[in-house]
Amino acid sequence: MTTALKDTAMKNDTLQDTRWQRLCNKADLVANSGVVAWWQDDQVALIYVPKGRSGKTELYAIDNHDPFSNANVLGRGIVGDKGGEVVIASPLYKQHFRLRDGICLEDETVQLRTWQVRLQGDEVQISG
């Protein structure tokens, strides 16, 4: 998760920082909901919260694969918050996953993979 930086500050960064790569466009995102991107043979669910509880823009990336149903569906769940934590609910069996670290609230031994993503202008970038 990262908040958008000022464009000017960013230009210098991108020259040096090759860690960050373009994943898709900001326009591909759906506010307060998820979409899914293909990234190096993985399915990444991107969850975009334009105005989180802190008032800042939040962007999360978790594995689209739902370990309970074994189907690739998490990007299609309902986004919300539980006890102050931003979560997504599996559309199949309704478990909640904490977006910042991928931990399942109903079974904390289950943790989804997460990626670092950020918004840079019109781009969504992912850290390899």
Binding site: N32, S33, V35, V49, A71, G80, D81, K82, P91
Partner: protein, 851 residues
């Protein structure tokens, strides 16, 4: 009565099982640590744990998760906990005990040594044999787990309560489990013959082998498996491991060796204050023998622990036996036994309910005068248990038809409300909490369930009383005028009905506006978002695909299709009244063929197309809409279908045109969103071929018009619809349905079908008739106008979405790649495709790796 010691005395407890631990808790609660220096000795290395739920050790709960109480409980209260320290001798003359590590003086001594598993003397299973496994401690379970490695089959000797628990443990380890019982049926103590038979059927259906009436004569080496058990009578069974669970024996060795009085068949004899033959020594739990009885359940042990803690603190309440009624889930099967389950009381009469189809069995035993419940047996469904137990324990007079207490529950079944229970009614028998104690806690300020549990400990033992506790608690709160928390979720402290009113009265049109004004300012969640989406749709009927509505919907509403287990969708076009032209049939067939969809006729006279991937949905719908179809809303909590028979047009019995009426109804209410799904049907005559009496709204033709039925239900909890009005003309029929549906939408809780709503409606059917037919609230016109608003703003959601490229962007499997989800795989079956099953998938992966 003991007087409290003025100088601190030394109290020693031998045994740190559930009962020993409970005794410590009771002593702490009574302030005993101010008067006694307390030592407790446990032979095991683990701190006290929940033996009742031992089999969960193999299904995810480790020793820590099974442990009882806080880990620093003893330290906090200055109690010396000696784990893994075995007591070898009691010297009563000196008032000392000897352990592996030393000797300790005692002024008072409590024996809570429990019991040990009885292993019958069978040749081949002598002490020290590797196959002599038992099921009592965590260490025993570790041994079973080791033995189960490389094992295919395991046998439990003993078909009682613990034996079945042990069989469950074997099953959890993934090996084939068998139970061998000497008696002619399972659980011979708690169940009668038919109950044992029903339990057997259910357990066998779970894949556990059951062998009753089998006496094992010897255990020898096996041919196919490690061991062979030879039974009396010539039969045999081979197995890789054997767990003995053929009963327990009181662990009374220390007591015997120091010459305390022991029962003929074992057990330390105690009196009503739990004192042994030595007044300074108490015995509690399974090692104690009271009135010739050893109690093998935890609840009586807890009662004894309380008795002793009271005695030591100068407040002795005598032990007067215990109720051996029990309610369990064995291998997932409900089993309950209350009081005189075998009807041994003179003159006792029984009522029996036998359901051979589901292997369920219930027996109610009543007193000779037919006035009271004295016992019961339940197999397959314990939902009857709480009520029966209350009848039995409190001597409540039986209803006029006692059999109704065990008959399948339907409307009119007498259930015992929380208000009917006397103050003395036992709510939690593990912790001896009565209704009076709950009331007292509520009076003292307990206003939520968690604090009530912390205060009274109710429902923190076996947990079997949770539902009863909640209903008593809610009742007590309500009767004191304290509001019961009915918040929708953490975001809204309102009920659905309240939110609905706020939305309508204040004209709120978005979730964000509602959250800002009436919520906690959060993002919402999967409870409140769909509930509010439904309220907004019922009120304003704006497209659910509008940007502010999209994030509120469940996936089915978002993508206007029904998600199936592999993440693909099914598509259901509306086929009003089940009437369809040949051209339209062909069009559906053509679409299904083109997109390779599995097709099936639904129960609502429509055609369901399965296996569509997300990105194909817009194309599929483009073609369906061009062929003249509309969305069927199979994905929504909304109007589903209006089923109809062919009616007077073709049928020689039909008295009205049921198809035309079905079309009119479906056209009017299509797209109506409601607290739950809505199903309709119209039958053209009294033969009722459309099954209208199982629908939320059912219409049946008469020779004078239409009869209206409401609040029927099929599915999990079938309910026969109720006749609401008779011989209506077309316009009145529609008027009543308008009012009925809008009144339901306005007042029902979220995800509540009309049947459940109707049953919980104060005033019942008569009240509903007053509101709808007589317009007693004066809201009839308003309800009709609301419905007309929804009808006027109907638009096919798929047609709306297809017009807007922005909305279609959502229908991409990957936003940055054209490929379909590579993990979705199908195989052919009966000429169509179906999702690959998990085992087929893993075979495929293995095959790929090999090649």
């Amino acid at each position: 009565m003991t007087t409290l010691p003025t100088t601190k005395k030394q109290l020693i407890i031998i045994g740190n099982g559930m009962v020993g631990h409970h005794c410590i808790e009771q002593l702490i609660e009574r302030g005993a640590t101010e008067h006694y220096t307390i030592h407790i000795f446990g032979e095991e290395r683990h701190r006290a744990y929940d033996r009742v739920h031992l089999s969960e050790y193999f299904s995810g709960r480790d020793a820590e998760a099974l442990a009882l109480g806080d880990h620093d409980l003893h330290r906090t209260h200055g109690i010396e906990l000696h784990l893994g320290e075995c007591v070898s001798k009691i010297d009563r003359d000196a008032g000392e005990i000897f352990t592996t590590d030393g000797r300790y003086h005692y002024d008072s001594l409590i024996l809570a040594t429990g019991s040990y598993p009885f292993v019958p003397p069978i040749p081949g299973a002598e002490e020290g044999q590797p196959n002599r496994l038992v099921y009592r401690t965590l260490d025993d379970l570790d041994q079973i787990r080791d033995a189960a490695k490389n094992a295919k089959r395991g046998v439990v000797i003993g078909g009682g309560l613990l034996g079945l628990e042990a069989a469950n443990a074997l099953k959890s380890l993934g090996i084939e489990a068998h139970v061998v019982e000497f008696a002619p049926r399972l659980m011979p103590v708690q169940l009668d013959e038919q109950g044992g038979a029903a339990l057997r059927e259910q357990i066998e259906a779970l894949g556990v082998g059951v062998h009753t009436g089998c006496a094992t004569e010897e255990i020898v080496a096996g041919d196919e498996y490690r061991y062979r058990m030879n039974f009396k009578g010539g039969e045999h069974l081979e197995t890789d491991l054997i767990v003995f669970s053929a009963g327990i024996r009181p662990q009374d060795k220390l007591a015997r060796e120091c010459s305390l009085e022991i029962g003929e068949r074992g057990g330390i004899i105690i009196d009503d204050t739990c004192r042994t033959s030595d007044p300074e020594i108490f015995a509690i739990g399974e090692c104690a023998l009271w009135n010739g009885q050893v109690f093998g359940l935890v609840a009586p042990g807890y009662t004894m622990a309380r008795t002793v803690a009271g005695c030591l603190m100068g407040d002795c309440e005598s032990f007067s036996g215990a109720d051996m009624s029990t309610k369990l889930k064995l291998l997932g099967v409900d089993v309950g036994s209350i009081g005189d389950a075998h009807a041994k009381t003179e003159g006792a009469k029984s009522y029996r309910y036998i359901d051979e189809a589901n292997s369920a069995y219930r027996r109610l035993v009543v007193s000779a005068d037919g006035k009271h419940v004295i016992g019961a047996v339940l197999v397959g469904d314990n939902s009857y248990y709480d009520t029966l137990l209350q009848y039995a324990q409190n001597g409540i007079k039986l209803p006029a038809d006692p059999a109704s207490l065990i008959l399948p529950q339907s409307e009119g079944t007498p259930t015992l409300g929380a208000d009917a229970l006397p103050e003395t009614a036992m709510i939690c028998s593990c912790h001896n909490v009565t209704k009076g104690a709950v009331c007292k806690a509520v009076d003292a300020g307990c206003s939520d369930l968690a604090s009530l549990k912390a205060e009274t400990k109710a429902s923190t033992g076996c947990g079997g009383c949770a539902a009863l506790l909640k209903s008593v608690f809610d009742h007590e709160l309500e009767s004191r005028g304290i509001e019961v928390d009915k918040s929708l979720c953490e975001h809204f402290s309102h009920t659905r009905q309240e939110l609905y009113s706020l939305v309508r009265v204040e004209g709120i049109e978005t979730f964000d506006a509602l959250m800002e004004k009436h919520g906690n300012g959060g993002l919402g969640c999967d409870i409140c978002k769909p509930a509010v989406a439904s309220i907004l749709a019922s009120s304003w009927n704006k497209p659910i695909t509008d940007p502010s509505n999209v994030p509120l919907q469940d996936t089915n509403d978002t993508f206007m299709a029904n998600m199936q287990k592999n993440g693909t969708y099914s598509v259901v076009p509306r086929i009003p009244g089940g009437e369809i032209t040949p051209d339209k049939l062909i069009a559906i067939g053509a679409v299904a063929k083109k997109y390779d969809l599995y097709t099936k006729i639904t129960g609502g006279q429509r055609i369901d197309l399965f296996g569509a991937q997300l990105h194909d949905l817009p194309d599929i719908w483009q073609e369906l809409i061009e062929a003249g179809f509309e969305t069927g809303h199979a994905y929504g909590k909304s109007t589903r279908t209006v089923k109809s028979c062919v009616g007077s047009t073709w049928c020689r019995y039909g008295v009205q045109d049921s198809v035309a009426m079905a079309l009119r109804i479906e056209d009017r209410y299509k797209g109506l969103r409601s607290p739950h799904k809505l199903k309709f049907a119209v039958s053209g005559c009294t033969r009722e071929c459309a099954e209208a009496q199982s629908k939320d709204v059912g219409v049946i033709a008469t020779d004078k018009g239409w009869n209206l039925y409401i609040s029927g239900n099929g599915g999990m909890r079938p309910r026969h619809a109720e006749l609401f009005a008779t011989d209506l003309d077309d316009e009145t029929l529609i008027k009543y349905i308008d009012r009925f549906l809008m009144f339901y939408i306005r007042t029902a809780d979220k995800l509540t079908r009309t049947s459940v709503w109707r049953e919980s409606l104060d005033g019942g059917l008569d009240y509903l008739k007053e509101v709808i037919i007589e317009d007693s609230l004066g809201i009839g016109a308003e309800l009709e106008a609301q419905m007309q608003h929804v009808v006027d703003h109907y638009e096919c959601e798929w047609a709306n979405a297809l017009k807007d490229p922005e909305k279609l962007k959502r229908f991409r499997t990957f936003v940055n790649d054209q490929r379909p989800d590579p993990a979705i795989t199908f195989v052919d079956e009966r000429g169509q495709k179906r999702p690959m099953r998990a085992e087929e998938l893993s075979n495929k992966i293995i095959a790929k790796e090999i090649s």
